[in-house]
Structures are given as C-alpha cells and as structure tokens.
Amino acid sequence: MDFEFSEEQIAIRDTIRELVQDKVAPRAAEIDEKAEYPKDIEELFARNGILGIPFPEEYGGISGSSVTICMGIEEIAKACATSSLILAVQALGSYPILVAGSQEQKKRLCPPLASGEKVAAYALSETGSGSDAAALKTRAKRYGDEYVLNGTKQFITHGSIAGTLVVFAQTDPDADHRGISAFVLEREHSPWQAPKLEHKLGIRGSPTAQILFEDVKVPAANRLGDEGAGFKIALAVLDRSRPGIGAQALGIAEGAFEYALNYAKERKQFGQSIASFQGIQFMLADIATQIEASRNLVFRAATKVDAKSPDLTKIAAMAKLFASDMAMKVTTDCVQILGGYGYISDYPVERMMRDAKITQIYEGTNQIQRVVIARSLLR
C-alpha cells in the first residue's frame, strides 16, 4: 500500500527536510554532548510554522493531521531525536485540548501553542504510577471556580520549559480511574515547580523533569471534559500520539541507516568496500526491509488517526511497538557496521543507538503496547 500524501504535506516535509539539513543536523552532536535543551531549534521551528503542524487552521495552526505530524517528526528525528521531541511533545501536550476541549478552550488555548509562543507538555506519569497510570495520586480539589492541585509528576518531557501543561489529577480519590480529571495549566496563571531534571542514556538535550504542584490554583474553566473523564482523555491522547513515537523511531533508524550505508560503501577492507561482502549486504537488506515495514505501519496508523478509524487504538499500538523495536535493532546493527568507529562519539550512530532505546519505553512501554493490542484482539 502506498500512501497518498497531499501536495501540501509534501511541501511541508520538504521545508522541514531542508531546515533540518541546514540547521538541526549540524547541532545534533553538541546538543547530545552538552545535554542542553536546544532553545534555538525550538525558535527555528516556531518561526517556520513547524510547531503549528499539530493544529488546524481555525486554531492558528497549519494542519492538525497526524500524517503531517508524523512526517515532520520523522524528518527531524533522522538528524536529531532530541529536536524531534519539540514537535512530538507539542502534539502530545496539545492533543488533550484538541480531543476533549470545548470550542472556547480550543480557541483560547491553542493559538499561543500553534504560533510557538509557548510549548506544551503532558503530565500523566508519577513515581508510583507508570504503566499503571490509573493509580496516580496527584490531587485536585475544587474550591468555587477553581481547583487546587497537589502532587508530584515524574518523567515529564519538557515539563520544565513548557508554558502549557496538561495535568491528570484525582478529583475523586475514592472512584479509582473514574475519579481522574484533566486540567490545562498555563504557567503565568498556575505556576508549577520543576525541581529536578534527569540525566539520561539518550535524548539528552530534551529535558525530562520531575514536576511538583504545591497548592497550584487552576481555573475550573481549564478543566477538559467532565470531572472523571480524565483517564479516558489520557488514553485517547496516547492512541493519537503513538504513531508519532513510531515516526520518531523510524526517523532515528533512517538517520543511522543512511550513515551506515554510506560508510559501508566507502570503508575499504581486504581491498574492497565492506558493502561488497555478503555478510554486510544481508544486514543492509534486513535493515532496509525493516525500515520499510515500519514506515508503512506508522503512516497507516497516522492515516487511521486522521480518519478516526474504530481500530486506531490497536494499529497505533502496533506502529509504536514495531517501529521502536525496529529502531533499537537497526541502530545497534548500524553501530556494528561502523565497527570501532561506530562506538565512539566522533560518529553519530552511537548517539542514535542511545536515543532509540527510549522509544521502546515512553508513551507506554512496549509491554503496555502488547497489552493494548492483545486486549483489542480479545475484546
């Protein structure tokens, strides 16, 4: 099956591709080495409309299509996984508003995100509730027209730099996951603390924050959907964002493969290019095949998200599972093709291998994807 991308989507992709080549790729090694958030890349993306991709035009954006988001993430991730999260998390943190917000909320909250004036983040995980998200303990108590939030969130990508943070909290602790509600926090009105940033194996330039709420006030007008609808919103959002992680994994694998393929053609041993050896050729063939299979699954899932297809949950989980497992294997093999050079930081593939691992873990570990897939098969 071939995917019909619109001319507009292809134009957006080509613009991103060019920007990534010129501005992002040359920064990638330094971003990893210094483990610093690339504010310059965020501003570049804002100026060029890339942060507006997750939003339809009526909310100040340029697309709103999952296919376009995935194309963008894939292109950026080919050069720099950290930078690809700037778009991916903008989408993740905005989906709750787009999926569950009222017209008023969308009109009010989306334009500053679409213009890139603010970045978004999504705060679901806690220390005691990772895969078991329903066990979250952050509390939201209503007092008149506002809620007061208390609690701690863990592993929140961009939690420290976001201007808009979607938080899932218990409004009725006795009601289990049916007591969870979703809130949009705007930093200027509802400031939260980010006391700790993590040092990580990969995506080192992307700040992963612990977030602390101490009596943080949120207007009731910023609650998304009804009280108790939060868990459903959280899952609906993850269904829609997972193809994006698949696209990130795909981009990382493609970036590593492009480098390893060129290296294999140029590196000479035994008087010939190593690409002329069948052992290397078979690796290259397997890698290319796995990338192609992943690309099809990722864009098929994105197409289903755009079509609001009834089986989007299952296919989105499959795309995330398959593409991220593929990326881990492919990047490990690309390091292998470069041999000793693959293992040192003067070459980009070891970074790509380190970056790949998190795609198997975040936005639902791959074990959770299997649970989701099995559940939809057995339902």
């Binding site: 040092h199 008087g271 052992g279 070891e350």
Partner: protein, 370 residues
C-alpha cells in the same frame, strides 16, 4: 567445574563485589581509570592468572581466567576489560612466543601488575583486515625503528608496554608482519587522540603514535614474519576472555532485572522475558567454558572460541537491552546499572574481532575440516 575453580571464582567474586562494584557507577560517569580496582586485582594476583608460577604468576588455566573476567565484569565492565586485555593479548604473546630471556624480563612485571600490558594491532585503515596494516619496522643494526599509527588501543596511556605489530617486509600482507615488545617510555612513542565512547568509560581507548621509535632487536617476539601468527593466536584466547566479560555483564543484567521485578506485581510477560534472558546466559556460559576447557586441554579451539565470543556478546547485548526494557524509564537514568550495561555491552560485539569476523572464522574452520 573442579573444586579449585569454584574456590577461585568465589575469591574473585568476593573481591569484585566488595571493592570493584561500588566504584562502577562513578568510574563510568567520571570517565576515570579504576585505579583502586586494578590495584586490588594486582594485590590479589589477578593480573597474572595465566602466567606460570616460575614467572611470578598464578599459573592457572584458561577456565580460571574466564571465571576471573566474568566475575570482574559482573561488577564493572571497564575494570574487566582492562584486566582482560592486559592478561590475554597484552601478556600472552610473551608467554606463548617469547624466548626465555624475554619471559624472565617481562612476565614477572606483568604478573605483579607493575606493568600493564596492551595490544596494538588495529590501524585506521586496517581493522577487520588486520593483515593490511602499514606500520613499519626497519632493522638498523641491533635495533628496529618503528613508525606508524595504531588505533582503538585499550589501556592507552596506562600501559607499561605495548605488543606492537609492524611490517618488516613491505607488501607481503600477513607474511611481512613481525611482533615487538615496545615499552611505553620509548622515545618517539606517544598517545594520540583518546576517544570519547558510548561505554566502557573507565577503560581508556585511543591512538598510539610511533615516530622513529627505536626498539632493541631483543624485543622482537618470534621470528621476523611471524607477527600475524602471534596476533591470531593471542586473539584466539583473547576471545575466551571477551566471552567471560560478556557473561559477567549479562549475568549482572539478569540479576538486576530479577530484583526490579521482585518489587512489582508478577506479569507473565515479565516472567517469560526473564526466563528467556536467563536461559540464553546459561547456554552462552557453557559455550565459553567449553572453549576455555579445549584451550587448557591443548586441543584446537579457534572455532569454539569464536563461537563463544559471537554467542556470548550477542547474548550480552540482547540481555542488557531486555533488562533495561524491564526496568523501564527509571533504568535509562544515568547512574542506573541498566543503561550502563547497554552502553558497555555494545563494544563486545565489535572488539577483538567484530562478530562478522567471528562468523568468518567459524565458517572457515568448519569448511576446512571437511
């Protein structure tokens, strides 16, 4: 396994867990040489496991060596590779190919850990194709004059001597290569770039630059033209050591995954993953011990050593990745052993012959014996 092997393993484990393991996270994060660990290993006689007692070593066999490296790697992969390279490819060429005078002069220093050994074969353009190396050694009177650049040298800057492979005859591939014992303080020998790597951060890796380095002819190992044979034989047993290293990393990952799982509700998916990991490590271990036993028994072991290296290192990579998967996001944080094992394990599929070279060796071994 014989009781003396069990006892030896237990003694190394005691040292590894009490002295080496507590340093591992810091050694990795600070990119520092584990001086205390190496000093402790030397004091316990672990720098001379394979060297006969007559030359100041412990006089143990290849299996004991494998166990030693396995136990050290379970605690700290950086420490294990330093000891492994020193003991096998950094010392064994002298033990196996040196004349009596060379053995008397160098082995006691290596066995005590007074000198750290290193092995300088690879060059920028001669990796898997080692026989194409270009470093030269010209005979001038009673000396050889060495020139060239070696790359990816483990123990760079820390070694007291390097076993250097250089060409005494140009353009004859393997047949033109000779081996030399080159003291680190030789004039003209210097350390080039030291690499920043994905893992094994406590073990320095870098370039060795030789500019008109004068080495006495008495430091040539074996006859002129025998260098490639020396290198290949050293790598055969070196690969058993790397297998032990892989087993140590893999076993640590399994044990830590088991602990992580003990803290959460049992799930069949986790149970099956853990079972697969443990089974693979156990099968890899048998392959490594068999290669070590064949080596000790004086039987042909080239193919079995390559099989052990291939299977053990692939197992270590997979097991490290799967253990990190079971640990989840927590495991990706710097300071967690899970992410360190992943970064450390990858090197093993590459050094002392990439796993592509191992497959080549195995296939050649299979096809020539028919």
């Amino acid at each position: 396994m014989a009781p003396h092997h069990e006892a030896f393993r237990a003694s190394v484990r005691e040292l590894a867990q009490s002295v080496v393991e507590p340093l591992a996270a810091d050694v990795d994060q600070s990119h520092r040489f584990p001086d205390e660990a190496i000093a402790a290993a030397a004091a316990a006689g672990l720098m001379g496991v394979l060297i006969p007692r007559d030359y100041g070593g412990a006089g143990l066999d290849a299996l004991a060596f494998t166990l030693c490296i396995e136990e050290l790697a379970q605690a700290c992969a950086s420490t294990s590779v330093i000891v492994d390279v020193h003991t096998s490819v950094g010392s064994e060429p002298i033990l196996l190919f040196g004349d009596e005078e060379q053995k008397r002069k160098w082995l006691p220093l290596l066995a005590s850990g007074q000198l750290l050994g290193a092995f300088a074969l690879t060059e920028p353009a001669a990796g898997s194709d080692a026989a194409s190396l270009k470093a030269s050694a010209h005979r001038v009177g009673g000396d050889y004059v060495l020139n060239g650049t070696k790359v990816f040298i483990t123990n760079i800057g820390r070694a007291g001597l390097y076993i250097v492979f250089a060409r005494t005859v140009p353009d004859e591939r393997a047949a033109g290569i000779s081996a030399f014992i080159v003291p680190a303080d030789s004039t003209g020998l210097r350390v080039g770039q030291v690499f920043k790597k994905m893992g094994l951060n406590g073990s320095p890796t870098g370039e060795l630059v030789l500019e008109d380095v004068k080495v006495p002819a008495a430091n040539r190992l074996a006859a002129e033209g025998q260098g490639f044979t020396v290198a290949m034989r050293a790598l055969d047993s070196g690969r058993i050591g790397i297998s032990g290293q892989a087993l140590g990393i893999a076993q640590a990952a399994v044990d830590q995954a088991r602990s992580a799982l003990a803290d959460r509700p049992r799930q069949q998916g986790d149970d099956f993953a853990l079972a697969d990991m443990a089974t693979r490590v156990e099968s890899a271990r048998l392959l490594a011990y068999r290669a070590a036993w064949l080596c000790s028994a004086g039987k042909p072991f080239t193919g079995p050593a390559s099989m052990a290296k291939l299977h053990c290192t692939d197992t270590a990579m997979d097991v490290a990745l799967n253990a990190l998967q079971l640990a989840g996001e927590e495991g990706t944080l710097v300071g967690s052993p899970f992410e360190r094992h992943v970064r450390d394990a990858k090197a093993l599929q590459i050094y002392e012959g990439t796993n592509q070279v191992q497959r080549y060796v195995i296939a050649r071994d299979l096809l020539k014996s028919r």
